[in-house]
């Protein structure tokens, strides 16, 4: 018996729900042969605003979780990816000629992504010991520095590697209790759609990670100027970096932007580090009188 084809409507994961763009706009994604694959939401600055509201609402609860619990949840996210790794690899091949070499590269990217999430999951209850400190002072005070999450972090994922780049940017931000609003790769948005489905089943509270798809030229200016974003992390072209830095200066937010022109090796040993966790932390130093 022939069945009706059941095609999936790709939706973005925002505030713990799968939504279309408020504008109802979409853009077509094509496979390597040029045939229609799916319509991807073309998110607008209003979607970005709504996503930031969702991220801000989720923030205090997420930051209050114990470090151990955040690590466990990130670990479970990696488990969810592992179980659907074949599907993720196929998503990375949408629009790409599926040569054996491309297949192997996709499988490698998925494996590296899972390993990266595990890496940062491990840091959850350890970064504080290394980044916080007890400071020697020449006065009768106990002086110590502790870290705090910054708040809502904007992530601009690189065009490629679409999945590994996105995961490498959002995992170190959320592990410390930040929440993230991320713009997925413009040319390869489908892996981010799938990643949203895995985030939804990973025990991560809704709103901690919000993934948008759409056009960078429409969304980068709002990432730059929105004052509720405390930090921007990602990959940007020279023109985008200028716009982002100007906007960030106006709204006093931290930027950690890498040039899109550089050949970044996302598989290298230094592509994951404690420093990346520190990039979205604030440091609070306390003077406490001794003997008081």
């Amino acid at each position: 018996m022939s069945r009706l084809p059941i095609t999936k409507t790709p939706k973005v994961y925002v505030g713990g729900a799968f939504i279309r763009s408020e504008s109802a706009r979409v853009f077509p994604l094509r496979d390597a042969a040029g045939a229609f694959f799916a319509h991807i939401p073309q998110c607008t600055r209003k979607d970005l605003r709504n996503a930031i509201e969702a991220a801000a609402a989720a923030g205090p609860g997420w930051a209050k979780r114990t470090a151990y619990n955040r690590g466990q949840i990130l670990y479970r996210l990696a488990e969810m990816l592992e179980a659907r790794s074949a599907e993720l690899a196929a998503a990375l091949l949408v629009g790409v000629k599926a040569t054996p070499r491309a297949r192997a590269a996709a499988a490698r990217e998925v494996a590296a992504t899972i390993d990266r999430i595990i890496y940062y999951a491990g840091w959850a209850d350890k970064y504080e010991q290394l980044l916080g400190s007890v400071n020697p002072v020449a006065a009768p005070y106990f002086n110590f520095t502790v870290t705090e999450p910054m708040g809502v972090v904007g992530v601009l994922a690189p065009a490629t590697p679409a999945l590994l780049g996105l995961a490498s940017l959002l995992a170190p931000a959320i592990v410390s209790g930040n929440t993230v609003v991320a713009l997925a790769s413009e040319s390869q948005p489908y892996p981010a759609i799938l990643l949203g489905e895995m985030l939804a089943t990973s025990d991560l509270p809704g709103g901690v990670v919000n993934l948008l798809t759409g056009f960078r030229r429409e969304l980068v200016p709002t990432f730059a100027t929105h004052t509720h974003l405390r930090a921007l992390s990602g990959v940007a072209t020279a023109g985008e970096r200028r716009a982002l830095r100007l906007g960030a200066a106006e709204s006093v937010k931290r930027t950690r932007l890498r040039p899109a022109e550089d050949r970044i090796d996302w598989y290298a040993a230094d592509a994951q580090s404690l420093a990346a966790v520190g990039d979205t932390l604030e440091y609070k130093t306390t003077w406490h009188p001794i003997g008081a």
Binding site: R45, R49, I52, A56, A57, G59, P60, A63, E148, P149, M150, G151, V152, T179, T222, T225, H226, T227, H228, G247, E250, S251
Partner: protein, 334 residues
Amino acid sequence: MRGAAASFPLFSPAGGGILRDLMNAGPSASFRRLFDEVGPVDSVGVEERVAKYATRSLKQAAKLWGLRTAVAMVDLTTLEGKDTPGKVASLCRKALRPSDDPAVPPVAAVCVYPAMVRHARRALGPGAKVRIASVATAFPSGQAPLATRLGEVRAAVADGADEIDMVINRGAFLAGEFSRVQDEIAAVRDACGRSTLKVILEVSELETYDKIRAASFLAMTVLRPGDFIKTSTGKTALNATLGNNQVMLEAIRDFYLDTGIPIAMKPAGGIRTAKQALQFLVAVKETLGDAWLNNRRYRFGASALLNDLVRQLAKERTGAYQAPYYFSEAATSY
């Protein structure tokens, strides 16, 4: 509907005899008579109508006008057991100057408990642009002897309250004792002297649109032109919604068309965002028209709404979306 309500024998002072007869027949019979008198509410129609208000697209100049008008309509409210003179004084400063942007007008009024009226008067000074409203009459339950409630109203007026927000006797209303409800409103009205009266129906305790409409008419027939009817105290689970706002606006419209007496309206409680406020203004514009789009005829009873209005006005001015913690929302790290 309007034909049936063309004159209101039930509400006229001479109609007391009819009301007494009705009361003897029990509450359901008296409600039936009252609904026949004021006309029924098509609740499905109301819900469908107000759902459309959320789809109006307000852009640029209209949005800016709406936001500024909404600021000027706010009754900035603090009604908590922990209110102090200092807190009321800072509320008054915020009411006079909600933003450092000079284009943002002062709000319509501050709304405080009677004991705080004299502190508000001291903070605002005599003849201030911002009026002082006070919830008297054993707010929010209204469950106190009438003499106590009237005493509270007179004390608030003597301390300098320009407006009195009273609660109706819901117990009497639901028991069908309509003349008692009206007599009490009239007594409070007289105790107000020259101060404006706002009658809180507490819609969540009236339960149906029909009863909200009926209670609106009961109140309006004893009010003076320019007095208000108001949705709720803000102290119950369900407060102002577009639906019960619409029912009350239509009651005001029908009453005005029949009698020529303009009654003002104040939704209160649950209106927290600028977007909601604009939808309420759309409802006013499309139901009552421009004559009600000012703070003498329409108010918002709210505490958090002003922050969001000022926040959206800052967005319109700068072009950048603003974080809520710049506008005295609860300041957490997020």
